[in-house]
């Protein structure tokens, strides 16, 4: 007997993966809406923690889904959520990669790419907004978010430095 919550996880993230145009960063508002608002699997604060853990670990940014699965149903939950997000779309990619090369230079392909680019930008910025609302609980936290965004925009520092410095400030109780 498969626990119903595992099936629920597979369904939610399997469906979500097909909406992930422009990467998992663009998917965060929708993950948040389903996991926090609809399913009630975690609180706003737990969602922010899951995001922090996934960012503090090496690897693709889709790992937030593994942490959510783990929170819901332990190791099996993590495995199911991760596979649900990867496998169905991988099969689709596998099938389409063969066809796509034939459309190289086709005007429709160019229009699709130029059309989808701004949609992705809107979604990623929405992710930033939703995450800030979940993660930042005061002016110091908002300030840290804003300072990181400004510095990351205007320098070429490795992203890990920002996380390391923030982690140290937070551990010392400064931020």
């Amino acid at each position: 007997m498969i626990p119903p919550v595992l099936i629920e996880l597979a369904e939610q993230f399997g469906l979500l993966s097909f909406l992930a145009i422009g990467g998992v960063n663009a998917l965060i508002p929708e993950i948040h809406r389903r996991v926090v608002d609809l399913e009630g699997w975690m609180t706003n604060a737990e969602f922010a923690q899951a995001f922090a853990i996934s960012q503090a670990s090496p690897g693709p940014n889709m790992l937030i889904v593994s942490v959510i699965g783990w929170k819901v149903f332990g190791f099996l939950g993590a495995l199911v959520a991760t596979l649900a997000l990867c496998v169905p779309t991988s099969v689709l990619t596998f099938a389409i990669a063969h066809v796509w090369d034939r459309f190289r230079g086709a005007p429709l392909r160019a229009a699709i790419q130029r059309g989808l680019a701004p949609v992705t930008v809107g979604l990623v910025l929405a992710s930033g907004y939703v995450l800030a609302r979940a993660a930042d609980d005061g002016w110091i936290a908002y300030g840290l978010t804003a300072a990181t965004a400004l510095l990351a925009l205007n320098t070429r520092w490795h992203p890990l430095w920002f996380l390391a410095v923030a982690g140290a400030l937070g551990a010392l109780g400064i931020a």
């Binding site: 909406l19 689709l92 596998f94 990623v124 993660a135 925009l153 920002f162 923030a166």
Partner: protein, 190 residues
């Protein structure tokens, strides 16, 4: 390393090489590993040249699903068929998956410590700033084109403020934006 043309015979000979190459990519980056995929594929192992990588990347971004997983599927398949895709994906995901779960378990164990809670909260604030910076960097090339700015704003408002389900937002915005891009291109040609 120079951008010299790729010498012949640099394609991965075995699925094991794909596994290891993508494992290196998966372990290199924090909060997204696409730049490291480019470094491994184009500069270090030279399995693809610059143009081939850009094409693989644009297809990966166009198709649904995590972009880097799509890159692994396409590159793996190109060299070693379905088994190569599987090896590349496993290599990419296995270690990061185990590491993130270990971190989550550690966090769970020690979250009563004020220092751990403080550090996690600050890391998520900073990581949020990184996401915002990524979005703004992606927005820069669009700023000169009015309709693209409007589409991006609509996407932002729909998802962030109005909390519209992503499916509905995409069903309206994606065809609209592609149609505009198509019509404008047509007009320019006439």
């Amino acid at each position: 390393m120079s951008e010299a043309s790729r010498p012949a015979g640099t394609a991965p000979a075995r699925a094991g090489e794909l596994f290891l190459g993508f494992m290196q990519v998966g372990l290199s980056g924090f909060g997204g590993v696409l730049p490291f995929a480019r470094r491994m594929l184009v500069e270090e192992r030279r399995w693809l040249d610059e143009r081939e990588f850009t094409e693989v990347l644009s297809l990966s971004q166009f198709l649904p699903g995590p972009n880097i997983v799509n890159v692994a599927v396409i590159v793996g398949n190109r060299f070693r068929g379905p088994f190569g895709s599987l090896a590349a994906c496993l290599g990419l995901m296995l270690m990061p998956f185990l590491i993130v779960l270990a971190l989550a378990a550690l966090y769970n164990r020690f979250d009563s410590l004020a220092a751990v809670r403080g550090a996690t909260a600050a890391v998520s604030s900073a990581a949020t700033g990184l996401v915002i910076a990524t979005g703004l960097k992606m927005a820069r090339p669009l700023v000169g084109t009015g309709w693209q700015v409007v589409i991006a704003l609509c996407g932002f408002v729909a998802l962030a403020i109005a909390r519209v389900p992503l499916l509905w937002a995409l069903l309206v915005l994606a065809p609209l934006a592609v149609t505009i891009a198509w019509v404008i291109r047509d007009g320019a040609r006439r």
